[in-house]
């Protein structure tokens, strides 16, 4: 009887200890690693989430920008941090791609996924001065002159390059993929007529489409973009192309299960809040709050989709 009581007390104590740990989890400030410089999309979205997450958890969430090596510096900083939940960060499509294209990469199994932030689907945009009125026009024109239509995109391995490559392989096209250092120079080149089309995400070209300087021929996602509900998807037009960037929130691998759960729940709560969605949507970001498992599945799916494309483009230096 006494033994049982002691045992009971002990087990009670241990549950208490666990829950006590869990309840006290964020005891101090949380560091949020951004693997791009201040001012970009990754940074802006991170700051928005961090600001609200800080309110939900009751501790400061401090942004740290690590720039360099195409985002790899920040990912390495995140992967090597203690897996105690006090260091988390954001990850994009480029980090998944870099697993196969760089030396000393950060592999996805070095990270635990906490939640999904949202997709940033690619879109196909053409200059207003070009002859392409519809997606059909464009596809047949590219097929007639393989390798001649200049398309503005990131350097090889970047998100909009991959979008173009996925479109090429899905539709059997061959573009002249012209690399630009980021979305802004790509859009400038599109407006100036240096390239005929571009595969940057829709928010980058929306205003120019409204003013009539460019035409958006299709969105590479399952559903229409909330910012431009009148622009059809590729699927609706009979082309099976799904491509684009995405954002997810991750932590170093080996996080204690209860800490991961607290962070994951807090993130979902923040991302699902009406106020946050309004804020993010006005800034042009699509929100899709998914838990750890679904987010992991999304990232794995992207991984499987992108690897053959990279292989075809001859970019893989670090094979699976």
């Amino acid at each position: 009887m006494k033994l049982k009581a002691t045992l009971g007390a002990a087990s009670l104590l241990s549950t208490l200890a666990v829950s006590a740990f869990a309840q006290t989890f964020p005891e101090g400030p949380i560091t949020w690693v951004v693997n791009w410089p201040a001012g970009g999309g990754q940074d802006t979205t991170s700051r928005m989430v961090a600001d609200h997450l800080s309110g939900a958890l009751g501790v400061p969430v401090v942004i740290e920008n690590y720039d360099g090596a195409g985002g790899l510096t920040g990912m390495r900083e995140l992967a090597k941090a203690d897996a105690d939940g006090y260091t988390i960060g954001m990850l994009g499509a480029s980090s998944v791609i870099q697993q196969y294209t760089t030396d000393e990469p950060v592999m996805m199994d070095q990270l635990d996924v906490l939640s999904f932030f949202g997709p940033d689907p690619g879109a196909l945009t053409v200059g207003a001065g070009t002859a392409y009125q519809t997606l059909d026009d464009y596809v047949s024109a590219v097929k007639e002159a393989p390798g001649d239509v200049p398309n503005g995109n990131d350097p090889p391995g970047g998100a909009s390059y991959i979008s173009a490559a996925i479109m090429e392989s899905a539709l059997g096209l061959e573009l002249n993929k012209v690399p630009y250092a980021g979305y802004a120079p790509t859009v400038t080149a599109l407006l100036g007529g240096e390239v005929e089309s571009a595969t940057v995400p829709l928010p980058q070209v929306l205003e120019h489409a409204v003013s009539g300087d460019v035409r958006i021929l299709g969105v590479m996602s399952g559903a229409r973009h909330f910012l431009a509900p009148d622009i059809p998807t590729f699927e609706e037009q009979g082309y099976d192309v799904l491509a684009g960037d995405f954002r997810a929130i991750v932590a170093p691998a080996g996080l204690p299960a209860d800490v991961a759960a607290i962070l994951s729940e807090a993130l979902i709560e923040v991302l699902s809040a009406e106020e946050f969605i309004t804020l993010a949507n006005t800034a042009g970001y699509m929100i899709e709050p998914l838990g750890a498992e679904e987010a992991s599945a999304r990232i794995t799916a992207f991984d499987e989709q992108v690897y053959p494309v990279l292989e075809e483009a001859g970019l893989v230096t670090n094979p699976k």
């Binding site: 900083e77 294209t101 990469p105 630009y180 928010p203």
Partner: protein
């Protein structure tokens, strides 16, 4: 735009709340910008969270105040400590620090401030009057033109840097090779990374410049014995130049500001190209070009006017096209996006009040920077020189370490700064000019990327001679590069004839 709307906006801008915010922004910009390694972008990003809860107008007032004042303050560490905080300040330190070593630090800062203010105002006038026109011109700037303007810049730097030609060529080649380090922008292939992932992102220009100019300078001071003259004399010399002297610099200010505005308006061109063009242009036009680099005000005025005119220039593609010209305007667009405003071609028609508010906010920022920097900034900065030499040396070296790290929070940048500190020191000892190396590293990647992109799009180089802008620029560059060689050949032949 009705008169009522205009007067409401102006009335709002000069309300105590707005002026107070602008004042805070200017002071923070003057503190942050003067620290080496702390870019204007970083100063703006630190302020970003404070703008979440604000209305759009006060947010823009605060951000533009930080923006403009931090661009001016970049010249302070260049002049006082020979550390360029931004690529735009790499030219300012040539004459600015030389003036400071003559005991005219305060005067150099005053010249920099006056040039910055006038440069800012001229850039602002271009922005207000000609924004759509300049934007159209900027869009015509494709890869061939871009490659040509960078080639022109390199030619001008080769021309502007004094010293022996063979050594200049060696330094320039080294700089261009430094620019190759990292992943190639066109094919994503790593070059000269020596198998480390740290160098894959390339060598950042700020740690490089911190080492090459800041650390190297301090190292060569360290080996002097006490009997030598102090590096920067504290003097009771005047701060403000005479009106007549300022009047003499007016053409320089006008030319440099125009260059600064137009180059600033080309997306992603950056202030480094603008200051190189402005400095070399002034040196070319000067009657006594050999004085450049020895501590003359014009060597400070030209780059500073161009650098600050870039602010107005960079806002042109942002407001008219919604395209950020650099990382600083990218943060500003971020602020507008968070307030549900999407800058783009429709902004002028749909949101005229916002456009006018931004114009007004920049103007208020320029005026307040003049006031605060002139009355408080320069006297306080000047006090830095009152610190004993031994402590200042320690402070500068520690600041170099911290500044190099802070640029990207990357450990490798600290090593880069120390390494190039040693390289710069060796250059000073061997009497090799440093400027070709620094500008080779800045301009080399831009030239290669645009040249190769031109080939990818147009297939062959004849396109450079088919497009008017690039044709003119390429011919000018060739003239600048080949002229000295021809002159040297001629004088050599003449000498031989005399010897015979």
């Amino acid at each position: 735009m009705t008169y009522d709307l205009l007067s409401t906006i102006i009335y709002n801008l000069f309300s105590p709340y707005m002026l107070g915010l602008a004042l805070i922004g200017v002071v923070l910009g003057l503190v942050f910008g003067a620290l080496p390694g702390v870019s204007s972008t970083m100063a703006l990003a630190v302020m970003l969270p404070f703008t979440y809860g604000m209305e759009t107008a006060p947010a823009m007032v605060l951000m533009l105040a930080v923006f403009f004042s931090s661009v001016y303050a970049g010249s302070v560490s260049a002049i006082l400590l020979n550390i360029p905080g931004t690529p735009g300040a790499m030219i300012t330190l040539l004459d600015g620090n030389a003036m400071a070593r003559e005991g005219k630090a305060a005067e150099a800062m005053a010249y920099a401030l006056i040039a910055s203010i006038f440069g800012g105002i001229i850039g602002w006038i271009f922005l207000v009057i000609l924004a759509p026109t300049i934007a159209t011109y900027a869009l015509q700037f494709g890869s061939p033109e871009y490659a040509a303007v960078v080639l022109f810049g390199l030619a001008l730097v080769a021309y502007a840097s004094s010293g022996d030609m063979l050594r200049g060529l060696a330094a320039g080649a080294m700089g261009l090779i430094i620019g190759l380090v990292g992943r190639d922008q066109v094919t994503d292939v790593p070059r000269f990374t020596f198998g480390t992932a740290d160098l894959q992102g390339g060598i950042d220009i700020i740690p490089l410049a911190i080492g090459l100019f800041g650390i190297a300078e301090v190292l060569s001071l360290l080996i002097r014995s006490k009997t030598d003259t102090p590096a920067v004399a504290v003097s009771r010399a005047r701060t403000w130049p005479k009106f007549s002297e300022l009047l003499g610099e007016l053409p320089t200010v006008l030319r440099s500001s125009t260059i600064g505005t137009f180059v600033g308006a080309i997306p992603a061109a950056g202030s480094a190209v603008a200051v190189a063009l402005a400095y070399a242009c002034e040196k070319r036009l000067s009657k006594s070009p050999e004085k450049f680099g020895t501590g003359i005000p014009r060597g400070v005025v030209a780059p500073e006017a161009a650098n600050n005119a870039c602010v107005g220039g960079a806002l042109i593609p942002m407001l008219t096209l919604g395209i950020p010209g650099d990382s600083i305007t990218a943060v500003l667009i971020g602020v507008l996006l968070l307030h549900g405003l999407r800058p783009g071609p429709g902004l002028f028609e749909n949101q005229p009040d916002l456009v006018v508010t931004i114009y007004g906010a920049l103007f208020v920022a320029i005026l307040l920077t003049a006031l605060v920097a002139g009355l408080i900034g320069i006297p306080v900065y000047r006090k830095i020189l009152a610190i004993p030499q031994r402590l200042l040396t320690a402070a500068v070296l520690v600041l170099c370490l911290l500044g190099a790290y802070a640029v990207r929070n990357a450990v490798v940048d600290v090593w880069v700064a120390i390494f190039f500190g040693a390289v710069g020191f060796a250059f000073i000892r061997l009497n090799i000019p440093v400027l070709p190396l620094a500008f080779g590293a800045v301009l080399g990647p831009l030239l290669e990327e645009n040249l190769r992109r031109t080939l990818i799009i147009h297939r062959d180089v004849s396109v450079f001679f088919e497009r008017p802008i690039s044709l003119v620029l390429v011919c000018l560059s060739l003239a600048i590069l080949l002229l000295p060689v021809c002159i040297m050949g001629l004088s050599y032949m003449r000498k031989r004839r005399i010897h015979r």
